[in-house]
């Protein structure tokens, strides 16, 4: 990783975080679809990054998202879990690609099917964790499932749109 790559990843990560905090956070479609676009900051970090660093970045990102939502701990727990599972998911889904020298986790580099399946799995993990912690009781189980499904679609759409923008 050269300094240029670091600057680029940092910019993209910050972009996702700011987008979440100032714009997308207030968007709620049909009372059930939320958009937690800050996961894009973790998902698009380069593959070479060490797991330790990744976990710490995820912790920081979650903490910032939590601070703005007054839900200290919830986003953090979900984001850290997602970051911990990220290398495993990448290894299973892109076994042959990981051997390539330059390996960037972006829509342009991976192509739509790979990128979608990679982000879908991790976003599913993140949103399920987050929304079940938030619900904190099994009474609204079906509604929480609906919220998770709708939010995954919403977040994925926004993520794809922003990826087209980085082209």
């Amino acid at each position: 990783m050269n300094p240029n790559d670091i600057i680029r990843s940092t910019t993209i990560g910050l972009f996702y975080l700011l987008l979440h905090v100032f714009v997308v956070r207030q968007l709620v479609l049909f009372d059930s679809a939320f958009c937690f676009i800050y996961v894009g900051a973790i998902l698009t970090l380069p593959y070479e990054i060490g797991l330790t660093t990744l976990l710490l970045i995820a912790f920081g990102t979650g903490l910032i998202a939590d601070t703005f939502d007054n839900t200290l701990g919830m986003h953090t727990a979900a984001t850290v879990l997602m970051a911990y599972l990220r290398p495993t998911v990448i290894r299973y889904q892109m076994a042959q690609k990981t051997s390539e020298a330059r390996f960037e986790l972006s829509l342009r580099n991976l192509g739509l099917p790979t990128f979608l399946s990679y982000t879908f799995v991790l976003i599913l993990i993140h949103h399920s964790t987050l929304l079940f912690i938030e619900a904190s009781s099994p009474s609204l189980f079906l509604f929480t499932l609906l919220k998770i499904g709708a939010s995954i679609v919403f977040t994925l759409l926004v993520l794809l749109l922003t990826q087209l923008f980085f082209r």
Binding site: V21, T52, F59, T67, F68, L72, G73, A77, V80, Y84
Partner: protein
């Protein structure tokens, strides 16, 4: 011992992960802990500032709605003020008891947005975006938050045409608040911010800066709607009257929302005022 360190080194990411998760859940469970209360919430100065900045940008996008709701609130308040004033007029003798239908005759029907407006012709008209479907009728009074605007002359289902006070044939009864003198307001100049007040006797006292409001003689406007302020006092050519210039309260070049007021007793009032003349014919 060495094996323990090796184990920690090998599993350091898993240990870090477990530690961070435990920390997060501890923060969730103790949701009123020191950290959450003092630092990581939206009352944090930095966070609050950034939120207020982003809100001030966003505020522009819903200015339209805010304006509308404020205009609606003003309409309700004006309605209440007019009704209360009519129930107990300030200068009335104690024995005067207005009829309840008379006291409640003015109804603020709706708020309209000005969609077209002219000010520089001899006869100026406005178009507003409310019509019969919204309860607008001919000869309703139109006013802005700052004062009088005009009278509805034509309306169809969704739009209405308003003859503005800047019209050569328009005249309205006016009263000067401080001196109590009564006259007629007409537009004779080409200046859209100035109207003239006529028929005030030269031998009465008129003060500069006095406010002219609609008098209680009008069958269209409730009494006390601001028309303008006395700007210049001169004596008319025949030396018997004052020629008073009023600076209009309403800025016609910036008109956006107007209130429509209906006098429910307008027809009976105008009928009784006209009847002797028609009888003579």
């Amino acid at each position: 011992m060495l094996q323990l360190f090796e184990f920690i080194a090998r599993k350091r990411n898993f240990i870090l992960f477990v530690f961070l998760e435990i920390l997060s859940f501890w923060l969730i469970v103790n949701n009123s802990n020191y950290w959450s209360v003092n630092y990581f919430n939206t009352s944090n100065t930095l966070i609050a500032k950034s939120l207020s900045v982003s809100n001030s940008i966003k505020a522009y996008s819903n200015l339209q709605e805010v304006n509308q709701s404020l205009a609606e609130e003003n309409r309700r308040l004006r309605q209440q003020i007019t009704t209360v004033q009519q129930q107990k007029p300030a200068n009335a003798p104690a024995a005067y008891k207005p009829d309840s239908a008379f006291a409640a005759r003015y109804k603020y029907v709706t708020i309209a947005k000005v969609v077209d407006n002219s000010v520089y012709r001899t006869d100026n008209y406005l178009t507003i975006d409310k019509g019969r479907a919204h309860g607008v009728r001919e000869r309703m009074g139109v006013m802005s938050p700052d004062g009088i605007v005009g009278i509805v002359t034509v309306c169809n289902e969704y739009f209405s045409k308003v003859t503005s006070i800047l019209h050569s044939q328009f005249s309205v009864g006016a009263m000067l608040l401080r001196s109590g003198e009564i006259g007629t307001v007409e537009w004779q100049t080409t200046n859209p911010s100035v109207v003239s007040l006529r028929d005030v006797s030269r031998y009465k006292k008129v003060l500069k800066g006095d406010t002219a409001v609609t008098s209680s003689y009008s069958s269209v406007f409730p009494p006390g709607v601001i028309i303008g302020r006395v700007q210049k006092i001169a004596v008319s050519a025949d030396q018997s009257q004052f020629d008073i210039e009023l600076r209009l309260g309403t800025d016609f070049t910036k008109l956006s929302y107007v209130y429509l007021v209906e006098n429910k007793l307008q027809k009976p009032q105008e009928a009784v005022q006209k009847s002797p003349i028609t009888a003579r014919k």
